[in-house]
Symmetry: C2
Subunit: 338 residues, 2 copies
Amino acid sequence: MKSEHSVPTMKDVAKEAGVALGTVSKVVNGIPVGESYRLRVEEAIKKLNYQVNSYAQGLKASKTYTVALLIPNTEEPFFASLVYHINLALLRRKYRMLLCSTDFDSDQEQEYVTMAQQNKVDGIIGLTYNPHLQIEENTPFVAIDRSMGTKIPCVASDNFAGGQLAAEKLADLGCTNVAFLRIGSSLDNEPNKRKAGFENGCLSRGLSYEMKILNDGDAYEEFESFLSEHIQDGKLSFDGIFCVTDRLAYLIIKTLRKLNLRVPEDVQVIGFDGIRPFQGTEYICSTIVQPVPEIAEMCVNLLLQENLSSKPPLVCLPVTYAYGGTTREPDSLFIRIS
Amino acid sequence: MKSEHSVPTMKDVAKEAGVALGTVSKVVNGIPVGESYRLRVEEAIKKLNYQVNSYAQGLKASKTYTVALLIPNTEEPFFASLVYHINLALLRRKYRMLLCSTDFDSDQEQEYVTMAQQNKVDGIIGLTYNPHLQIEENTPFVAIDRSMGTKIPCVASDNFAGGQLAAEKLADLGCTNVAFLRIGSSLDNEPNKRKAGFENGCLSRGLSYEMKILNDGDAYEEFESFLSEHIQDGKLSFDGIFCVTDRLAYLIIKTLRKLNLRVPEDVQVIGFDGIRPFQGTEYICSTIVQPVPEIAEMCVNLLLQENLSSKPPLVCLPVTYAYGGTTREPDSLFIRIS
DNA sequence: AATAAATGATGAAACGTTACATGAAATAAT
DNA sequence: ATTATTTCATGTAACGTTTCATCATTTATT
């Protein structure tokens, strides 16, 4: 005798409806069966409040409908946004997400890959930094922001175009002497192309520019000494800064204001990523916005191989510029020119 | 003949090691077996690169090691922080998280609960707003920030104490006439206690105060008219504001500064939650910080019933005050007094 | 040395699905 | 009216585990 509180199975439904097990399976999976059968089964399902056991399904199909997402830290706004959109794209396709915060740590990245494979995920999406990451041949993998060989597709923003756009915007906004700021990073990844793009943009617009790589440890001090090198008669020698991320831009802007330099009046600042302090509020600084929803959709598409004949090795998605208070507004620019 | 590329099973390991299936199972699960057997099995596991199929385990044990997390929007910083810490707490216990962004929508909340139960999750943690949420009797549920009856434990910050602390801080910082600001919300949840706590604090410290509930739609306009009502001879009649969230505080501060009111010189503002614009940077405003890691840990603990004899209906965790630039610093306060 | 007790490996059954070979019933063709 | 064909429900096997009764082996007891 079955306990009252045990979860009903297909067998129970079949008995209740007076049909065979296979018939119930067909009804559940939307495979056509005779009208009268379907109705009886549907009634029994409702009566018993039956729900399929997706783990039995997974066992049978050797598919788990689970995708692992490896990402440095899900609290950081840009990554949180990726998490949100990738999760949504997966849920829409009835897939689950196994979320792994790697904390930028190569060992943790490897551990999570191993764990994901033990959990028999159907694939992995990873924004990783470990250059020696070992991934099993038969586990589909899509990388974000980093090319990992021809077998693994990479999805990223068009970082080069983004850098270029930043330079062009600064030129349009009246800058003549600009700086590029980046925090040092050893790994060769897609976001590094922002620098080349910016340089290219400066050259084509005739901007005089300076590239500065700050050390991770003492970025503040380095920036301050960089500033003092560029002050002539109490006036800054450049009037525009492009920071490689909004995070850096935010810190730089704080520092500038602390030193009584006005943003955007004395120096305009453009960041990269498109971060807002809260949902629906304006951007934290003027910025090159990454198309996060599109990146998410593309990752999932590539991973699950939907409507794609061959995987391209690198997909770059278009970025846009957005005003965020740290550049002159088009309005005020107009006034200034007239 | 098994295909070369098929995933090895316990059966394969057993054959390779020349032992019984059950013996392999024991080795895998750390149940003691004879030394020689264990060694042979371990060798075979390594040779075949065997990994247990957790879905077969789940089927057998009718445990899925999965917990669903229902949360309005994982991009909003406070929720993103909860997601991060709950995910971590679950992974530490070898549990997976099924992340569900409900977008504050009652129907979506119900849909996700149903979906979670179909996925046979071992429990649900939910920060929800649907007052009629239907949850199956046998699905463990832990609520965040909302009491849902005696059968469902609720975890929250000590919101009352937080409100009180905000009033006390404003008093300590020299305020005499303060305001409480909240965006209207119909549901009776724990964060609403911030208001009562603040009122209590004002009374015990002899602060004159005003409580203002803004409408969700036109909060901006309402706030501006609220301000104009309180301006006497071009001077604000209050010198401190407690906003129910950092999100609201952020918007209020922007508005104040746009109206040329100086924060914190003219009016000091305290928010609630403890939001930072980026990981590791300072708080976005002076604030009452919620103990998110502790909330996460407590939720998981209660849900999985670890070392707990009976479930308390409501757990309130202690909050702290943190300086974030929108109140006078202790230093400057000292200067001011002397 | 013979029997009893303890130890521990064995392998079949079960978990809840899906897929497929089987066979029964209904329809079409002669 | 009989046979050929189609249609479609049936029920068993298999997915990869864990559990438990069974049985072989070793150790202890007399």
